[in-house]
Amino acid sequence: MNTTPSLQISNLAFAYPDGNQALYGVNLTINKGERVALLGPNGAGKTTLVMHMNGIHPTMQGEVRIAGELVDAKNKETLKTIRAKVGIVFQDPDDQLFMPTVGEDVAFGPFNMGLRGDELSAVVDEALSQVGMLEFRDRPPHHLSFGQRRRVAVATVLAMKPEILVMDEPSSNLDPASRRELAEIVRSLDVTIVMVTHDLPYALELCERSVILSGGIIVADAPTREILTNASLLASHRLELPVGFTL
């Protein structure tokens, strides 16, 4: 059972209704407990790929499996368990946090999974303490700083006890201290993580493995250090290390 990969994508292709093809046959396997950075330039299809992981986009060709289970956007029953297994942290915390208080927002996911009462409350407390935000439980999200809102957004997903945590640009708009705090939280989590990012140093810091998605296919899949030292590979896919950053 433990050998079942958390995420298994085979031959996934997708075109938008307007004919714009975003994915051209993606193959990607991520094992349980791995932390993988999904790198790629703007418009490479990263978000489209993420939207396939929990069945927001129906698969047109190929298949996506989460912990062995097929993602089928038409099957409402399995979709519910899939969405509980795939936790997506969106880029803008204001899109994710919509309830009047932090605690209620964290409760939203587990509530949809059928948790109620004390059990629900315990899960909320646990998720909030994992990101160090327990004392903000009864505060409205708009009173928090951006970094705090992002941490709460992570908690909203952790509360669902996901098999795999997908973070879209987790370091964007964070100040250096918030960025480091988030890194510490990510490192402390015992869960498979896919991190979609342009922030190459952050990927190096947190993920042992990276894949580059460019032009709708996976063009590289290797240890992060190996990818980041391959200057010509990075350059041909519009990826750059910050000026002055050397490995």
Binding site: I88, F90, D92, D95, F98, P100, G109, N112, M160
Partner: protein, 240 residues
């Protein structure tokens, strides 16, 4: 003490009080004096500064504007005060609207001052208002800050490029900005919905259960409309 009462019984108390106020005929003016005294007493007991209470009640003015004009126009019986012609019918109707309106607004201000917006929504939910309406209101509450910040940033960005709205010729720019804001808010709505779906949303928002309401709390809350009703009936009985 008003602050600690569960919001749904506060809402019920205010509604009942307003019901008593509007069903009392204005000609029983003594009753209205008593009702005003009662509202003031409730505000004082809730530790609301009277100045704040009246300032917030000013919101009523646009609504009663026409009521204030009523005594000056109309037909029928007339009389004169200090050289101004007044109509009896209009004066009664106008006074009635202003007095009853003010009582309602003052009671509502006490409710809103002692209750957070979130609590009022929870109260409405407990009173079985359709959940869709409560949900829409709570989304508005959550996003009004986000959207007004966005509007402010757009305004600053416009002004940073030398735009100052002075007159009608600038309305086109303002209208375009409003349209852009609308599209952005609409798209945000879609992203929020997507994020909700990703967490397994199926149409129900969690509610945190009903608090236990003690008899004492019911008694405290309902004392406002209770006293109002008994005063009204008492004055009716003694023929004031």
């Amino acid at each position: 003490m008003t602050h600690l009462l569960p919001s749904h019984i506060k809402i019920l108390a205010v509604l009942a009080f307003i019901l008593v106020a509007v069903s009392t005929p204005i000609t029983r003016w003594q009753t209205f004096i008593a009702l005003f005294a009662l509202v003031i007493a409730a505000a004082l007991l809730s530790k609301i500064p009277l100045l704040l209470l009246f300032k917030r009640a000013l919101i009523e003015i646009p609504f009663v504007f026409f009521a204030i004009l009523m005594p000056f126009f109309g037909e029928g019986e007339r009389f004169e005060i200090a050289g101004i012609q007044l109509y009896r019918e209009g004066l009664l109707a106008g006074t009635s609207i202003v007095a009853k309106g003010s009582l309602g607004v003052l009671a509502a201000v006490i409710l809103s001052t002692t209750t957070t917006a979130r609590e009022i929504l929870r109260g409405l939910e407990r009173l079985k208002l359709p959940t869709v309406m409560v949900q829409i209101a709570s989304f508005m509450l959550r996003y009004v800050n986000v959207i007004s910040d966005e509007m402010e940033r757009m305004k600053i960005a416009r002004e940073s490029r030398g735009f100052i709205a002075t007159g009608i010729k600038h309305w086109k720019v303002i209208a375009t900005s409003a349209a852009a804001l609308f599209i952005r808010s609409y798209e945000r709505g879609e992203r929020v919905h997507l994020a909700m779906l990703s967490r397994g949303f199926d149409g129900n928002l969690p509610s945190l259960g009903n608090p236990v309401v003690t008899t004492r709390q019911w008694f405290t809350a309902l004392s406002l409309p209770g006293i109002a009703l008994s005063t009204s009936l008492l004055f009716l009985a003694i023929g004031w």
